[in-house]
């Protein structure tokens, strides 16, 4: 099972749907919505699986300051997939 060292808080309403965070995320745990949009009409990123490392690549590349990045005090094993 993948260890999860970090996580993110995402400001969905600030997102302009540019996709830059998606390719920037090394473990590729971010993915854009496909059908759901925020109130200004943009798709936004979701944390789709365990494995975030808290590396800050997403927060450093996002032009619209949509990410807070956290590191867990202890790395976690998150059961996945869930029903």
């Amino acid at each position: 099972m993948t260890l999860t060292r970090g996580t993110v808080v995402i400001d969905r309403e600030a997102c302009k749907g540019c996709d830059l965070c998606i390719d920037a995320c090394p473990p590729r745990v971010l993915e854009m919505t496909t059908t759901v949009v925020n109130t200004i009409g943009h798709r936004f990123p979701l944390l789709i699986a365990p494995g975030c490392t808290g590396c800050k690549a997403c927060s450093q590349i996002c032009p619209d300051f949509c990410f807070q990045v956290y590191k867990f005090d202890e790395p976690k094993e998150i059961p996945w997939p869930v029903d």
Partner: protein, 272 residues
Amino acid sequence: MDTELVGQRVVLRTDRRPDDATLVDDFTPELVDVGAHHLCPGCGEPIAIRSAVECIAELGAVERTISVFGIGCYTAFSNNLDIEVLQALHGRAPSLATGVKRMRPDALVLTVQGDGDMVNEGLQEVLHAAARGENITCVLLNNGVFGETGGHITSTTVLGQRTKNTLDGRDAERDGYPILIGDLIASMGGTAYAARGAVNDAGNVARTRRMLAAAFATQERGEGFSFVEILTMCPTGWFIETQESPDYLADVIAGTHQIGVLKGGDVPKGDR
């Protein structure tokens, strides 16, 4: 961790802070007052300016930093910053910054200009400031277009680059050749430090931040003119999709304006 359903999909919750974790990067860094701005989706300029202000905060130079902004899309973003901002006439920021630094030698003085502002409207200003060895740091946000006025060709537009005037690419015979401003400035006697970074991926953002730190350190030691050119994405002016713009920067723009330290500096060898 909790999950939620978005559309048809079960995902990890990202709408609240975890209670067993430490914050390592906030929405906005210390010197960005408000995150919301009117720059386009995927614009590279806020990414570059974030790096610069994070450097200033790390240096502990917040209270004595005076920035001078040129005119371009980044000008609007200067309103979001919690540092002193002077607005220069188009292209004239290095001259205004010269006056500021000479009157306030203890201040950390930087300019923020675009390629249209620096290399078209006011090329002589930055060249003379470099030649005089003014102890200031000039930051160039180079996207190869006059972004704010609609994405037209500038003097740094590379051969083959799409702009509003060159939708099938800049052609040397018709449009001439780009000016490699970073290399030109590096060749001048008064320049103590010059480097070219980019914000197309997280690695380059980190590298650019080290270049900015080296440039500010050069100024703090009083060694003379320092210069950091930062290649930034302008998907709107390049007429491409936002998600294609980081690779377009790497393949087209950085193929000509090559990333690396161009002169001087205390950046580790691996970064040259």
